[in-house]
């Protein structure tokens, strides 16, 4: 590339292929790609910026002042939200943290077990098992959630924390990622060497293979954390007691009530802002030492 940059480019009129290089400024910054990406970022950040600003407005300011002008009511909004039904909002936040935290942790453990087994061992039915597990990705949530509800109702488990937690532990995508990571990160010789030393299969897995799989398992955990935190349909079907609602469902019920009473808009908006905040913070912190690329299953060996 540097050898090409030395040549002075002739204006775009030239039909020679060398016309790709532009004037000096364009050589330092590629304008079109940079601008395209900045416009894209503007589009994605717009609603977030709006909710941040709108949450600072009092009910009156929300309808009277220009939308991108910060208001003065953030603290009051926060107080109102915390006072709403004796602080049920924070209960929803706590519930979401519980569902997503516990669910993702269990999911990661199950995925690590299965991914390791599918990657390292050769056994009868391995590919069949893998394909059957993967097929789970293709199942529409509703064809699962409705019968899951009916079956859990027979076990008297609906409207409980478990009814939201249990169905989300097995993640076909998590198993798939774990298998790819185990294949890439755990060399067969290491496992073999462990066996030669007389270590049990469990010991090899927990002491040797698992530490090697950690970066991949962080990805599975995050992926599943986001998936459970964002899930709406399952809790919507399973739960009726709003003390057990996750934040998505709680906010939805708040919106349902607030739609006809503009006075409740500020509560919904402040609630939405606070619900967006934890996951964004999580991503900002984590992306310092974790690459987004891992999410698509790319493993650099």
């Amino acid at each position: 590339m540097s050898s090409l940059a030395v040549r002075k480019a002739e204006p775009a009129a030239g039909t020679t292929p060398g016309a790709a290089q532009g004037p000096p400024l364009r050589r330092r910054i590629a304008l079109v790609p940079t601008l395209t990406l900045l416009i894209g970022a503007l589009y994605t950040l717009l609603p977030v910026a709006w909710v941040v600003i709108a949450s600072t407005k009092s009910g009156e300011e929300l309808f009277s002042t220009f939308t991108f002008l910060p208001g003065s009511g953030f603290v009051d909004n926060l107080k109102d939200l915390s006072a709403y039904r004796d602080g049920v909002y924070w209960q929803w936040m706590g519930n979401s943290a519980f569902y997503a935290g516990c669910g993702a942790l269990l999911s990661t453990v199950v995925s690590a077990f299965s991914g390791y087994a599918l990657a390292i061992y050769r056994f009868r039915g391995r590919e069949t098992m893998f394909n059957v597990l993967l097929a789970g990705v293709l199942m529409p949530p509703v064809i699962l959630a409705v019968p899951q509800y009916l079956l859990l109702a027979q076990a008297d488990l609906t409207d409980s924390y478990l009814s939201v937690l249990l169905p989300q532990i097995l993640s076909p995508y998590g198993v798939y990622l774990a298998r790819i990571y185990a294949q890439a990160a755990v060399p067969a010789d290491v496992v073999e060497a462990g066996r030669m030393d007389g270590a049990s299969e469990w010991r090899i897995f927990s002491r040797v293979a698992l530490p090697m799989m950690v970066p991949g398992m962080v990805t599975v955990f995050l992926f599943q954390f986001v998936a459970i935190w964002n899930n709406f349909l399952l809790p919507y079907i399973m739960l009726s007691d709003d003390e057990k609602f996750p934040i998505t469902l709680g906010l939805y019920t708040l919106l349902e009530q607030g739609a006809n009473t503009p006075a409740l808009y500020t509560l919904v908006i402040t609630g939405a802002f606070l619900a967006v905040f934890p996951l964004i913070a999580l991503f900002l912190v984590i992306q310092r030492f974790w690459s987004l690329d891992l999410l698509s299953g790319a493993v650099k060996s």
């Binding site: 590339m1 409705v146 897995f205």
Partner: protein, 307 residues
């Protein structure tokens, strides 16, 4: 595996032991519910007399009647058509933008990429329900900055939450939420292209545009096919966004999308048998469409390779 003979005891059983938790969960929370849904779809309640008293309502075999009813159900059909129209907007726009952004991220001398990459990916971390709420407010004339600007400029102010614009409004939410994730998948594939390929193209004097069109896009075709496949599945199952916009407008009915109708029938009108049959039909249609697409894409790739 030359070492197969030297495996100590326990190796044979170990993979099965490791797979026990996944297998149990799969059987209980995937296989059993699916089987139960299929079973229910062939059942119905037979009411004798006035339906009062014990034994007056009993579950009986229904044959295919739930399926014929579902296929003749105009509400379900209209829902399916709405979602097809919605999908025809969402999938091409979302993946077109994802591909565009991925190519731009991958080009030379582009600036601010850590920021723009993260910003475009950000909506992935935002629940679909909350995303629909944020946009829902931005669509409301009372609080939206768009309407404020339109008002100041004296331009007409369309109603975004009914009729044709409603499709655009709903599609926008899905595009906003899904572009970043797909961008990362495509970008990762772009990064995996070996540098020698570019060196050869540069020596031949190819422009960045030619490199993008003739080299990069064909080389990431497999991940494009994959993102298409999953986008089709996700789009046909749209539920959260229209449900969330429902309180804000009268134009979204309780049966706007097929999945909303399944929910309505299962829990609103308590006809779990009809709901089960509809759910099975939706699942089959989804699989048919998505795998049909995969087959068509594979055939095309083979043809291109044969050329």
């Amino acid at each position: 595996m030359t070492s197969a003979r030297r495996k100590p005891y326990g190796v044979k059983g170990a993979p099965y032991a490791f797979l026990i938790p996944a297998t149990v969960l799969f059987l209980v929370f995937f296989a059993l519910p699916i089987g139960y849904a299929i079973w229910l779809s062939f059942r119905k309640v037979h009411v004798s007399g006035l339906g009062l008293g014990k034994g007056a309502r009993e579950e009986v075999w229904a044959g295919l009647s739930n399926y014929t009813a579902a296929l003749h159900d105009s509400e379900l059909l209209h829902g399916a058509l709405r979602v097809l129209g919605y999908g025809c907007i969402v999938v091409p726009v979302m993946l077109g933008l994802a591909l565009l952004f991925a190519l731009m991220l991958d080009s030379d001398k582009v600036r601010f990429t850590p920021f723009t990459r993260l910003a475009i990916f950000l909506p992935y971390a935002i629940p679909g329900v909350v995303a629909a709420m944020l946009w829902g407010f931005l669509y409301l004339p009372d609080v939206s900055p768009f309407y404020y600007v339109l008002d100041k400029l004296g331009l007409p102010q369309p109603d975004l939450l009914s009729g044709g614009p409603l499709y655009a409004a709903l599609s926008n939410i899905a595009v906003w939420g899904g572009t970043g994730f797909n961008m990362i998948v495509i970008y990762t594939a772009l990064q995996a292209i070996p540098a020698e390929v570019y060196e050869a193209a540069k020596l031949d004097g190819a422009t960045p545009r030619q490199v993008a069109l003739k080299i990069k896009i064909p080389m990431v075709a497999p991940s494009l096919v994959l993102t298409f496949f999953f986008s089709i599945i996700a789009t046909l199952q749209v539920y959260n966004e229209p449900t969330t916009l429902k309180p804000l407008t009268n134009s979204v009915s309780t049966t706007w999308s097929p999945l909303m109708k399944v929910y309505r029938d299962a829990f609103g009108t308590n006809d779990i048998y009809a709901a089960a049959a509809q759910a099975v039909i939706i699942a089959l249609a989804t699989l048919l469409l998505s795998f049909g697409f995969l087959r068509a894409a594979n055939r095309r790739q083979k043809q291109e390779a044969a050329r």
